[in-house]
Structure formats: structure tokens, C-alpha cells
Symmetry: C2
Subunit: 329 residues, 2 copies
């Protein structure tokens, strides 16, 4: 039973992921897997999420299979709130990839950096396909760890001139301002209302449990990418805004249960069949934005296949560059 | 964020598992985790199992957390029917262990050998706690890959003198006979009725979808360990036998839905509250066998915590012996 045992297990650490996987790699990988999902060539397995009753940790798995890309695997990980005091990040993720032809473990990939990159790629894909071409002002709601990744990826999709930003903790905004300056964009800390009045594209990336943007503050033609809501009870924007927008998502099943659309679905102002998988737009099966005045909203819930897609890129690039550690099982 | 990065990831391959993890290690680990489950100190997360629509593969995850043993992790793997032609085993398993204090991946352990060992340990634990002390004849139903592991582990629990065996494919029995001889036991290939008439302890380890042993063939005082049924629709023994026996299991939730008890539950001849977790006997909260005439039946469904328990032993022993490969994520 040893014939294929020379095929080594690739191990790709966090540093190597950061070195090798760029924003355009992540964009392409996430765009492709969203398209495969909408065609029925890729699907996510049920998500496992458990409060383990120890160390206040939330732990679980996201997994799936992309037949088109030949990517099979699982991202394991969770949230350990005490980690920062130990010099570790609170979110810990690892991706395991398997050979779809044999079931053998093929790669082990650090998932912390990749999680940020794939989430940013998701909103960037939505901007590429749904935002007005003449969008000039990018609005950022949220200024945490992920916001800089979001800003960098979004900035590459349109000829933005300016970033307007709001965060529940305003003292965190200057760090995001530094990122904006670094990529040559003006930066202004504004009120929530002012953000809505100025922005052509808005990304929300918070852990909020109440609406931070109301329907009346948003101007016609805006594209919103709501990236923070991934749990029952979380909410970033007014349910009336969601109901009045044309809604797209990564996975409809998650959008209606634990994504930003959950509240509009729950109060009956939005129905499941009004939500379009972004992959349908990528595939050309849905025409996307209908007019310059339409408000489009992307409900980015985050699916395991995104993680597997970017991890697969990391493994391939590390293998090609001869930089992956190798082990045998 | 590097303070703890010197703590390496341990990689323990199949060969090392075979070299280091003995039957008594597996017995102790499985006995301890069954006890922890019954006390509420350990629990299994929901099982993911998917027919992925490619290579006829069944793929999935079993996971859980043992707070008492401080073991957190997931066994991934599945069944790839085309592997034998490629020189690989059809069942492919890998276990991933995480540090419960931080969520970091701590060990990667080959799961193929360990799956056989932990399944054998499970029936052995049931024999140790439920079979009559004066049991002399061991009955084996099944002669596949797992049967030799089952026989070796069971033989250590009682002073058996003889093995009687039956298999749907009788040509496979001589190989099991060699194992019996190796450990000093007489071996006889018999009919199913004769097996029931002679055996004091019976292990069933097949992939059957219909009863192989009927109630009337089993003599009073027998202990049965039904180890093959792990899926809806599978069945190894007569539902009337299950209903008339005193039933124990590893996990009640699995026993009633996909274990051997599913059929007696479905026809109403057994109720959930009549099934006792074997851990309750191990802990002394249930007195176990009530008389020399009682028929006891252990429904071994197989839980993720068993895999994590033996993998944790493998990682510890490999680390102590300085034999584990090490990597950094």
C-alpha cells in the first residue's frame, strides 16, 4: 500500500502565504469558486460551529468540494478570546486540502492571513461586478484588523479618489487613514449620515448587532458590500435598506439565515427568491446592475469554499516555488 | 504575534502510529473517553458526511472535545472505492488535534491504523465490562480487514479457549484462523446457528444490510458487540435480539439513528431510555451485567472522540520518543 506514498504532504505556513498569495490571486480564486457554486459545480458542506465550554472558545469547521477546481477540504478554526494576552491572534484558522481522487491529505495551509484576504476578495468581486463604473468615493464602516485588507482590495476595482470612514471606536480610524494615504487616496473621518451622503461604494466590516446605516442615508446608485454579519443576531444595516436594495450574496442559504439579509427575511420585507448568487452575475446568467440609480447590496456571509480556494492557490504557488515544507503521513 | 510560534506542529505518520500505539494504549484511551462522555466531560460535535459526487467517494468529518483529557480535534476522511487499484487503502483518515487553550493546530496524525485499533478497543472495553468472566468461546461474524484487530483485542479480555467464526465469504476465514492460532486459540469455521450455540461472546464486524444472527440462535448469558452498523439501513443482527437484550452503546444519539439499535427503535420494540452508555458502567453509575443468563449487547457506532483519544496518545508517545516529524505553521 505504498505506491503513492512518495507524493508528499505540503505544509504552507502563515509567512509563506503572506509572501506568495497576492490580492489578484485571491480575487481570481474567489471569483472562480463563486461562479462554480452558481453553476452547481461546487458546494459547501454543513457548517459545524460549537461553543466548546472551555477558554470561552468558539470552534468549528467549514468545508466543501469544488469539482470544477478539483479542490476538496476543510477549514478548521475558531475564536479564542484569551489569545491576545499570549501573543497570539484571537482567530486561529488552518486549512486542510485533500486529493479528490484518493482522499489523501495533500496540503496543510495556515489560514489566518488567508481568511482576511479571501474576505476582502469577496467584497472586491462584488464591487467589480456590481458597483457603478464611475464610483469615486469609497465608504468604510469599521476600522478593525480586516478593514485594511478590505480597503486595499476595493481600491483596485474602481478609480476611487477618496475614502470616507466611520467606526464605533473613532480612535481606530487614523490607522485606516494611513492605509488610504499609502495607496494615494484622500481620507476623511465622517458621521454615518455623511458617509451615506458621499459614498458611491460602501463596505461594512464590523461585529455589530444593530444597524449602523439607515436606508434614508444612502444615495441612489450606491453599492454596499456587507461583510460583517455571519451569525444569527448580527446586523450592520437597516433591514429596510436591504429590502429596498437589489440583493446579491455568496450563498443564499447562509444569507437568509445568518447573513445581513436575515432581518429583512424575518420581517417579511424580502423573500429568498429575490436574492441572487453573485456567481450568476459572474457567469453572465444574470445581468447585474440595471441602472445608475439602483442600490445594489452584496451580503458576504463567508463560505468554506473561499478558504479552500485561496489555500489551494497558496499550496500550488508554494509547491511551484519549491518553498513548501514537506512531510509524509 | 510570534511568542508561542516555537511550539511546533507534530506530524505522526502511519508507520509511527503502528510502532507506538499498542492495544492497551488504545483500550485505556477509549475507556477513558467513554467514561468522560457519560459524565458530560466530553462530547462529539455533529458528524459531516457527504457523497461528493466524484470518484464515488464518501467524505466527511467526526469531531469533538474531551475537556477531561484536554483533547480537541477532528478526524477527516472517507471512503474512496477506487483506491485499491492505485495501491492505496480505500478508507483514508487523518486526525487533526488542536491546543484547547489557544486553538492552534498541535498535531497531525495518520488515521488509518488508528481507526482499526480504536474500533477494536471499543468492543474490547465492552467485553471487559459486560461479558461473563467465565466466557470461553469467542464468536466472530466477519473476516475483513478489521476482524483481526477485533480478535486480538477481544482475546486479551477473557480466558478464551476457542474461536468460532462465520463470514459471508467463507474463503476469507482461513486468514482469521491464522490470527487465532498465532495467539494460541483453537479456530473453527461454523454455521451462523452453530456460532450462536457455542459462543459466549460474539463480535459482529461486517457491512451487512440484513440480520446475520437471529434471536433464537443466541444462548443465555451471551455478550454481543455489534461493531459494523454505522449508517442508516445497515443491520447485523435480528431486531428482536436487540429488543430482548440489555443494550449498551458508545453514544445513544448515534445508536438510535444509525447504529444497530435503529431497527428495534424504528419498530417500537426498544426505546431510547432502555439504552445505557457504556461509560456509565465504566464510571460505576450503572452496575452492568445483572445475571449469568442476561444477554448483553453493545452497539458500537464509532464516535470521533475515540479517534481523537487514540491520536492524542500517538502524538504524546511520538513526542516523548522524539520520533515525530515537526513543522511550523
Amino acid at each position: 500500500m505504498k505506491d503513492m506514498s512518495e507524493k508528499p504532504l505540503l505544509i504552507v505556513g502563515e509567512d509563506l502565504c503572506q509572501q506568495l498569495v497576492g490580492r489578484s490571486d485571491a480575487f481570481d480564486a474567489v471569483q472562480d469558486v463563486f461562479a462554480a457554486m452558481a453553476r452547481g459545480d461546487a458546494y459547501n458542506f454543513p457548517v459545524i460551529r460549537e461553543a466548546i465550554g472551555y477558554a470561552d472558545a468558539l470552534y468549528g469547521f467549514k468545508s466543501g468540494f469544488d469539482r470544477a477546481g478539483q479542490v476538496l477540504g476543510v477549514k478548521s478554526g475558531g475564536y479564542w478570546p484569551g489569545n491576545l494576552d499570549k501573543g497570539l491572534t484571537n482567530h486561529q484558522s488552518t486549512v486542510f486540502l485533500f486529493d479528490p481522487d484518493t482522499g489523501r491529505l495533500s496540503a496543510l495551509v495556515g489560514g489566518n492571513y488567508l481568511t482576511a484576504v479571501r474576505t476582502a476578495a469577496s467584497s472586491a468581486v462584488s464591487i467589480a461586478h456590481l458597483a457603478r463604473k464611475d464610483s469615486k468615493v469609497l465608504g468604510m464602516v469599521g476600522a478593525g484588523h480586516q478593514s485594511a485588507f478590505q480597503l486595499r482590495a476595493a481600491a483596485e476595482q474602481r478609480d476611487f479618489e477618496k475614502v470616507v470612514a466611520w467606526n464605533p471606536h473613532p480612535e481606530m480610524l487614523p490607522r485606516l487613514g494611513e492605509v488610504a494615504k499609502e495607496i494615494g487616496l484622500d481620507f476623511e473621518a465622517v458621521s454615518q449620515e455623511e458617509l451615506g451622503a458621499q459614498a458611491d461604494v460602501i463596505i461594512t466590516i464590523t461585529s455589530a448587532f444593530e444597524p449602523l446605516l439607515m436606508k434614508d442615508w444612502i444615495k441612489p446608485g450606491t453599492h454596499l458590500a456587507c461583510m460583517g454579519t455571519d451569525t444569527v443576531g448580527k446586523q450592520e444595516v437597516d433591514a429596510a435598506l436591504v429590502a429596498s436594495a437589489t440583493v446579491y450574496t455568496d450563498e443564499v442559504a447562509q444569507s437568509i439565515t445568518l447573513g445581513e439579509a436575515q432581518h429583512a427575511i424575518a420581517n417579511g420585507s424580502l423573500t429568498e427568491d429575490q436574492i441572487t448568487p453573485i456567481g450568476a452575475v459572474i457567469n453572465g446568467d444574470h445581468s447585474g446592475r440595471a441602472s445608475a440609480d439602483e442600490i445594489t447590496l452584496f451580503d458576504g456571509t463567508g463560505v468554506g469554499l473561499q478558504d479552500l480556494a485561496v489555500a489551494s492557490v497558496a499550496a500550488r504557488l508554494a509547491d511551484e516555488a519549491g518553498l513548501a515544507q514537506r512531510a509524509a503521513l
